[in-house]
Amino acid sequence: MSKKIHVQTTINGEPAEFLCEPRQSLLEVLRDELRLTGTKEGCNNGNCGACNVILDGRLVNSCLVLGAEVQGKTVTTIEGVAPSQGLHPLQQKFLEHAALQCGICTPGFIVAARALLEKKPNPTEAEVRHWLAGNLCRCTGYDKIIRAVLDAADLSFRARANGRERETISQVRGEFP
C-alpha cells in the first residue's frame, strides 16, 4: 500500500491538514476526510461542476485535483461562502428567486457564481451563461439561476458603487426571517 501523504493547506480561511492516499481526489478528501460534504460528486470527470471549489483564487473541479496537489494552497468550498453571520448575497438571491429545486447542484453554482462576480462584478446575461456552462442543473432549466446571479451582481454592484457593501450584507441578513 503506498504511503499516505501529509498535506497542509488552508480551507475556508482556516489552516487544515490531512493524510491522503495519492489516488484520493480533493473532492474525496473534502467529503470523506474533512467531513465537508457540501461539495458534491455528480460525474467525477469534470463535466457537471457539482464539485466546484476555488483553488488559489481559480474555479476548479475538485474531482480533477488530487488531494496531494493542494499542499500549501488555499481552498474555498461552499461552506466558506457565507460570512460568519447571515448569507452571501448570492445565497440570498438563490433563495428569493427559487433558483434551486432539488439543490444538489446549488453549492457548485454558488461557488462558480461567486468566482464570476469576483472577477466580473457586473456581467451580462450572456457572460453569466458562458461562465456557468460547466455547471449542470437538471431541475431548473437555468432561468432562475441566471436571474439570481444577475440580481446578486446588481445588488453587490450597486452597493459597491455607493460604497455601501457592508450595509447590503446586513440588509440581506435582516431580510431573512
Partner: protein
C-alpha cells in the same frame, strides 16, 4: 408570469423555502453525505455483456484482498419465486426486481449488477471488483424495439409469452403485452377526411439525468432490524420493496429518506438498498454504496426508446375525423414500459370521434426502464403533434386555431375510457395565442416558430400528515413526501392557509417510515395535491380541537366558537377572542398540546395541459439548432407557490429540449452504451438556452380544497414536437427521429436540396 392569490393569504405567495438555507450553504444531507462510525463502502460488479448466462462466480481472490469484508451475489437474496407485489405505483414482478438488484442466472443488459463488495474504502472495494471472476456464456442480443419484435429475434426470457388484448397467446416472444384502445370506426373516419397524414417515428433511449447519483447506506442491526438511509422518491416504497426482496416484515425495516438530488421517476425502484442491506448483514457493520455516473447510465432505469406510427385525418374545415397510432416501446430487460400511459396521452388533447390505438411493451437488452416525468407521453406527443402540424400546413390553418377547433374539453371521452372533468386545454391554447411571443415577428433566414400541446393525467394516491401545535403558536408538520422541488414548503403553505397562519409559522419535516403514516411516492405530480390535502385535513383536525379548547377556556359550547383567519371568537360574547398564538400559549395549562392528523387517498385529480411555443435558428451547413425563444403555457390549477410552479415548467421544458436535440443512448454492435458519461450524453447547459418564459393559466381544480392541479410532468411533453415543428419552418425538413442532432438535420437538409 404573475398569478393572483385569488383571495388567499398564503397560497399564491412566494415565501423562502423552509429547507433553503441548508441547501444554499451545503449543510443539507443528501444520500452520499451520510456518515457513521464503522462505515464500510460497497461497490457493484456489473455485467460486461448485454445478454448471457452466468455460469460461475468466484469471489475468493476478492475476499482475500486486505480491506475487503464481504461479497454478495443473488444467492444472498431469498428466491422470490413468481410473486407479484403491489408496491405503490403499480404491480411489480419480484423476480425481475430482485434480478435487477443482483442478477440471478442470467444477465440481460450490459451494466446489470452481478455481485457486490464491501470494503474499508471505496477504492479498495473497486479494486476488489477486478478480482471477482465471473464466467459468462454470452448469448445473442437485441437492442432495438423493431428488431426485437421480429420472428427469430434473440429472446430475453424463457417464460415470456405475449399477452394480447388481455389474453395469453402462447407465443414466446420479446413482446410482453399488446393492448388496444378504440372509439368509433377509424376506417369510416379516414374515409371522411379531406387530408390524411401518416408518419413513422423513432425515438432513442434517454435518461432522467438527475445530477445526484444513487446512494444508500444500510445498517442490519444485531436485533434483526434494518435501517436504510437513501436518496429516494419514496421511503415507504423503499421499505415495501426491501421487505419483499429480503423476505422481512415491514415492521423490521426503517427507511430514512435523505435529501434527494433529483429523481424525475428514476429513484422509485430500488437498486442499491437491498444490496447494501445484504452486505451489512454479512459484515455486521453499516455499508454505504454509491453509484458513479457510468453506473447511473448503465445500471438504472432510463426511459424507453420507441417506434411509433401515427395516422390522422381531418376534414377540410379542420375537424379531426380519425386518429390511429401504433406504439412499440422498449421496456429494457424486463416488461413494464410506460407504453400504456403513452397510448393514453397520444391524442388526449383532442376531441376525436374515431380513434384506434395499438400499444406494444417489448423487452430488449438494455437497462430496465423506469418512469421519466410523464412517462411515455413525450415519445407519443413527438409523433402526434408533428402529424397535427403537417395537417395544419396542408389545410393552411393556424396550428393554434386548429387545436382550439379540436380541443378536448369537459365531457370529452378519451380513447382509453375516462371522460374529462373541468380541464384547461382550451385556456392554455388561448393564452398561447394571445401571448406576445406568438404574435411577434420572427425575422431572419433559417428561423422558424413551432408549437405543440401536451397532456398528462397526474396521480392522487395516499398521503399522511401529523401536525402539532407548539406553545409559541407555530405548528410542526410531519409528512412523508420526499422533497425534490420545494414541496415541503407548498405543503406547509396549505396548512398555514387553512389555519390562518404565516408560511414561516409552519415547520415542515420530511419524515422516515417510523415517524409518519403511509405516504405514496413523490411522483405523478401528486405531492402538492395529495400531501397538501393531507396537511389541509390535519389543519381541519387542529381547528376542531382548538375550537373545543377555546370553548373549554371560555366555558361555552364548541358550537359557540368560530375560527376565522387564525382568530377564535366567541359568538355569544364579542369580548372573548384569542389568536391562534394566544391560545397555543395556554394549551399546556388547559389539557395539553394539540396534535392534528390526517390520512388521505383523494380522487378529484386534475390532469394538466400545456402549450409550448419555440423559436429556433438552424445553421443549415452544420445542422446546429439554436433555441432563440421559448414560452411554456400550462394550466396549473391554483399555483400554491408560483416560483416553484414556474420552476417545474422551466425544468420540464429544458429536459424536453435536451431530449429533442441531443440526448440519446448510443449503442455499438456489441450492445454496449458508448456514451455513458456527461461528456457525451449531452444535456443542455446554461449556454445552450435562453430564458424560459412561463404563463400559468389558473384553471382551479374543483376536486381539491385549494384548486391544486399537478404541474410537474406535463411540461416535458410538448418540447420535442414543438422543436420539430419549428425546425420545419426554419429549414423545410420534417425530422421523424429523436434526437434531432446536427448530423441528422444536415442530412435531411442536403437530401432536400
Amino acid at each position: 408570469m404573475s398569478t393572483s392569490t385569488n383571495g388567499y393569504k398564503v397560497i399564491g405567495t412566494r415565501p423562502i423555502r423552509h429547507d433553503g438555507v441548508d441547501k444554499v450553504t451545503g449543510r443539507a444531507v443528501y444520500g452520499a453525505d451520510v456518515q457513521m462510525p464503522g462505515l464500510l463502502h460497497g461497490r457493484i460488479l456489473r455485467s460486461p455483456i448485454p445478454h448471457g448466462c452466468i455460469k460461475k462466480i468466484d469471489a475468493s481472490k476478492a475476499l482475500a484482498l486486505p480491506g475487503v469484508e464481504a461479497v454478495v451475489t443473488a444467492a444472498d437474496f431469498p428466491n422470490p419465486g413468481d410473486k407479484i407485489a403491489e408496491l405503490g405505483e403499480g404491480a411489480v414482478n419480484l423476480r425481475h426486481l430482485s434480478s435487477n438488484c443482483l442478477a440471478r442466472g442470467k444477465v440481460l443488459y450490459k451494466g446489470q449488477a452481478v455481485a457486490a463488495v464491501a470494503a474499508v474504502s471505496p477504492h479498495v472495494a473497486e479494486e476488489a471488483l477486478k478480482l471477482i471472476a465471473v464466467e459468462y456464456e454470452p448469448l445473442p442480443h437485441v437492442t432495438d424495439v423493431v428488431e426485437a419484435m421480429r420472428d427469430g429475434a434473440p429472446l430475453l426470457h424463457d417464460d415470456l409469452v405475449t399477452e394480447s388484448l388481455g389474453k395469453p397467446t402462447g407465443k414466446r416472444s420479446n413482446v410482453a403485452k399488446h393492448f388496444q384502445f378504440k372509439i368509433g370506426d377509424v376506417e369510416k373516419g379516414f374515409a371522411e377526411a379531406a387530408v390524411v397524414v401518416e408518419r413513422e417515428f423513432h425515438t432513442a433511449t434517454v435518461h432522467q439525468g438527475y445530477i445526484e447519483p444513487h446512494a444508500a447506506t444500510a445498517l442490519w442491526s444485531a436485533d434483526g432490524s434494518v435501517t436504510i438511509w437513501c436518496s429516494t422518491q419514496g421511503a415507504f416504497t423503499v421499505r415495501a420493496q426491501m421487505a419483499e426482496l429480503l423476505d422481512l416484515p415491514v415492521s423490521r425495516i426503517k427507511a430514512v429518506p435523505t435529501e434527494i438530488g433529483g429523481g424525475f421517476g428514476g429513484k422509485i425502484r430500488v437498486y442499491l438498498e437491498p444490496v447494501a442491506a445484504a452486505l451489512s448483514k454479512k459484515t455486521g457493520r453499516p455499508v454505504k454504496i454509491t453509484m458513479n455516473r457510468t453506473e447511473v447510465f448503465e445500471g438504472t432505469g432510463p426511459t424507453p426508446g420507441s417506434y411509433i406510427k401515427v395516422k390522422m385525418g381531418a376534414d377540410k374545415s379542420g375537424r379531426l375525423t380519425a386518429a390511429q397510432a401504433y406504439l412499440a416501446y422498449e421496456a429494457g430487460a424486463f416488461p413494464g414500459s410506460p407504453v400504456g400511459p403513452g397510448a393514453m396521452c397520444i391524442f388526449a388533447c383532442y376531441n376525436i370521434p374515431n380513434v384506434h390505438i395499438d400499444g406494444y411493451d417489448v423487452v430488449v437488452n438494455k437497462p430496465a426502464t423506469s418512469a421519466y416525468r410523464a412517462p411515455g407521453a413525450t415519445n407519443a406527443a413527438f409523433a402526434s403533434e408533428t402529424v397535427v402540424d403537417e395537417i395544419c400546413e396542408k389545410l393552411n390553418i393556424d396550428p393554434l386555431d386548429f387545436r382550439l377547433k379540436n380541443a378536448a374539453h369537459e365531457g370529452t371521452r378519451r380513447a382509453d375510457g375516462p371522460v374529462y372533468p373541468r380541464i384547461g386545454m382550451i385556456e392554455t391554447v388561448e393564452a398561447a395565442k394571445k401571448h406576445p411571443h406568438y404574435n411577434s415577428p420572427l425575422a431572419g433566414p433559417n428561423r422558424g416558430r413551432g408549437v405543440a400541446t401536451g397532456f398528462w393525467f397526474n396521480c392522487g394516491l395516499k398521503s399522511s400528515a401529523t401536525a402539532s401545535v407548539n406553545a409559541d403558536g407555530t405548528v410542526s408538520l410531519v409528512e412523508g413526501s420526499t422533497d425534490i422541488g420545494g414541496t415541503r414548503t407548498s405543503i406547509a403553505m396549505q396548512l398555514a392557509e387553512a389555519l390562518g397562519l404565516r408560511a414561516e409559522d409552519v415547520r415542515p419535516v420530511v419524515a422516515d417510515t417510523d415517524m409518519v403514516g403511509y405516504t405514496d411516492v413523490t411522483g405523478g405530480s401528486r405531492v402538492t395535491f395529495a400531501t397538501g390535502w393531507a396537511a389541509y385535513e390535519a389543519a381541519q383536525d387542529i381547528k376542531r380541537q382548538m375550537v373545543a379548547r377555546a370553548a373549554l377556556v371560555w366555558g361555552v359550547k364548541p358550537e359557540d366558537v368560530s375560527y376565522d383567519a387564525g382568530v377564535l371568537r366567541c359568538k355569544t360574547d364579542d369580548a372573548k377572542r384569542l389568536t391562534f398564538k394566544e391560545l397555543a400559549e395556554k394549551l399546556h395549562a388547559t389539557g395539553g398540546t394539540i396534535v392534528g392528523r390526517a390520512s388521505v387517498d383523494p380522487t378529484g385529480v386534475g390532469g394538466g395541459f400545456a402549450t409550448h411555443v419555440v423559436d429556433v435558428e438552424v445553421d443549415p451547413e452544420t445542422g446546429k439548432v439554436t433555441v432563440l425563444r421559448y414560452t411554456a403555457v400550462q394550466d396549473v390549477g391554483q399555483a400554491v407557490h408560483p416560483s416553484y410552479v414556474e420552476g417545474q415548467m422551466q425544468g420540464g421544458a429544458v429536459q424536453g429540449i435536451g431530449w429533442a436535440l441531443n440526448e440519446e443512448y448510443a449503442y455499438n454492435a456489441r450492445g454496449e452504451m458508448t456514451n455513458a458519461s456527461f461528456l457525451d450524453y449531452r444535456m443542455p447547459t446554461s449556454l445552450d438556452l435562453p430564458m424560459i418564459d412561463t404563463v400559468m393559466v389558473e384553471v382551479a381544480n374543483p376536486g381539491h380544497p385549494y384548486g391544486v392541479r399537478g404541474v410537474g410532468e406535463v411540461p416535458i411533453v410538448p418540447p420535442p414536437a414543438a422543436l420539430a415543428n419549428a425546425i420545419y419552418r426554419a429549414v423545410g425538413v420534417r425530422l421523424t427521429q429523436l434526437p434531432m442532432s446536427p448530423g441528422r438535420v444536415v442530412k435531411a437538409v442536403l437530401a432536400k436540396k
